[in-house]
């Protein structure tokens, strides 16, 4: 292609490129809002545990060891009673209760409140708490690996 033709091509393509750039429609990005009771409990528990376990490796290991047995429980009371029985996890049990009841008192969760003691609430609640525990430990590990 001659230099003249290349120049013409360039001047034809440049405005089209600029127009395309201007019309660019960025894709949907970023976090989606949490809607349900259980995923909100997970978010609160994650933050609670991460902040209290940061820098405390022995507590992190202890919690990690206990998660499989916690996952088998069927009621929040069982979980918190078990945690309160372990001296170094006692405080965390009270904080987890606060997270759960903070979320539960909100008007949008009246369904969960009305049937709070039923298995269809309690089982997923236990799993949402234990996923918060796992997520907190993962986040602390990620940070340590990054360092």
């Amino acid at each position: 292609m001659s230099l003249k033709k290349r120049k013409v091509c360039f001047w034809v393509l440049l405005p089209s490129f600029l127009v395309l750039l201007a019309c660019e429609h960025p894709p949907e990005r970023g976090p989606e809002p949490l809607e349900g009771f259980f995923e909100k409990v997970t978010a609160l528990v994650t933050a609670t545990l991460r902040s209290h376990l940061r820098g405390d490796l022995s507590k992190q290991r202890l919690l990690e060891e206990r998660i499989p047995s916690f996952e088998k429980l069927t009621h929040l009371n069982q979980l918190t009673t078990e945690m309160k029985g372990i001296e170094s996890l006692k405080d965390l049990a009270y904080l987890i209760e606060k997270d759960v009841f903070f979320e539960l008192q909100k008007p949008e969760h009246n369904k969960e409140r009305d049937r709070f003691n039923s298995p269809e609430i309690q089982r997923p609640l236990i799993l949402s708490i234990t996923s918060g525990m796992k997520r907190a430990l993962d986040q602390l590990r990620e940070r340590k690996d990054a360092n």
Binding site: P26, R29, P33, A43, A47, D99, F102, E103
Partner: protein, 324 residues
């Protein structure tokens, strides 16, 4: 006298994660509720979710959002020559729509007992204006949230009606005066920079114009927030002083209430009808991050944790009287 509890949330971009941690402590752990929330910039993104007590979504948002979820870089030269900002804020606009625009969540905001105000600056008049979900139609309020977070030059101004609006932090980073004007008696203010004597010098030379611009914005921000806090403290001291004079007038000069009222009446008294305010400020003890526009999830999570523990410390110092 009825107690009116206000929460004042300052600007600071990514540092808003510190605010979220502090709120987790105040609202979830201590069960505090507020009658009024006033937010600027990143504080205006937080305020509506505080009103509906959605701390879980605040944590989720601030711990997972990344730089490109908020802004799209425009090529510097292209931006300088042809556009109104160095970045495109379309992603942030969509996030705002997603987090606040959804009908059910917005209905909850309108029904909330907590009144929300967010600050913006009108570029044409140069005045601070406020966004409020009860006073503004929904699309306007959402635009004001975006405007309140739009750091000038970095992000484009937002057009509402015939005016362009930008970050309220340009004039008021910790909008305490609005809380006082709305009748707050007790204010908890969360500020995202440490006190002056806790700000170490930056050990580097600023070489590019962008670095200089960012550093200048940080310095201006610190200056504005210091002044906001000073004005609020001075205001309370002045009212206490006037009340002291009134008391001494009664006790030592034997003046009665109506004589004292006559002395202080008239339009010249700028404190007429005002009350003292109990102000508690929660702020980090050291600078959080170098740039407010750096959104990195690992850093944000660390700031959430710092905010939580700092709030706990400040409140412990307040015992046994508490905040309210």
């Amino acid at each position: 006298m009825r107690i009116k509890r206000a929460l004042v949330l300052s600007g600071g971009g990514a540092k808003g994660a510190f605010t979220v941690g502090a709120l987790k402590y105040l609202m979830v752990e201590l069960g505090m509720r507020f009658d009024l929330v006033v937010g600027t910039s990143t504080g205006s993104l937080i305020a509506p979710l505080v009103a509906i007590q959605d701390i879980a979504n605040l944590i989720h948002f601030y711990e997972n959002v990344e730089q490109q979820d908020i802004l799209i870089d425009r090529p510097d030269l292209f931006a300088f020559l042809f556009s109104d900002a160095l970045n495109d804020s379309t992603p942030l606009e969509r996030l705002i729509q997603r987090f606040f625009g959804e009908d059910e969540r917005y209905r909850r905001l309108l029904q909330s007992k907590t009144e929300v105000f967010i600050t913006v600056v009108n570029m044409q008049t140069g005045e601070v204006e406020y966004g409020n979900p009860h006073q503004d139609p929904k699309p306007v309020f959402l635009k004001k949230i975006l405007a309140s977070a739009s750091v000038p030059v970095m992000m484009p101004p937002v057009k509402i009606g015939g005016s362009q609006y930008i970050d309220g932090g340009v004039k008021e980073i910790a909008p305490l005066s609005k809380a006082i004007d709305e009748g707050a008696t007790h204010i908890v203010s969360i500020v995202l920079s440490p006190e002056v004597n806790h700000r170490p010098p930056v050990q580097k030379e600023f070489k590019s114009s962008m670095e200089i611009l960012k550093r200048t914005l940080e310095l201006l921000t610190d200056e504005i927030v210091d002044n906001d806090l000073k004005v609020a403290a001075l205001y309370t001291e002045a009212i206490r002083y006037i009340n002291g004079i009134k008391k001494r007038g009664k006790e030592r000069l034997g003046l009665n209430s109506s004589q004292i009222k006559t002395l202080f009446q008239g339009d010249q008294n700028p404190f007429r009808g005002k009350r003292t305010v109990h102000l508690t400020t929660i702020r980090p003890e050291e600078p959080l991050i170098a740039s407010s526009l750096e959104f990195r999830p690992d850093q944000m999570r660390e700031m959430v944790d710092k905010g939580y523990f700092r709030a706990k410390e400040v409140l412990r110092e307040k015992e046994p009287y508490g905040l309210f």
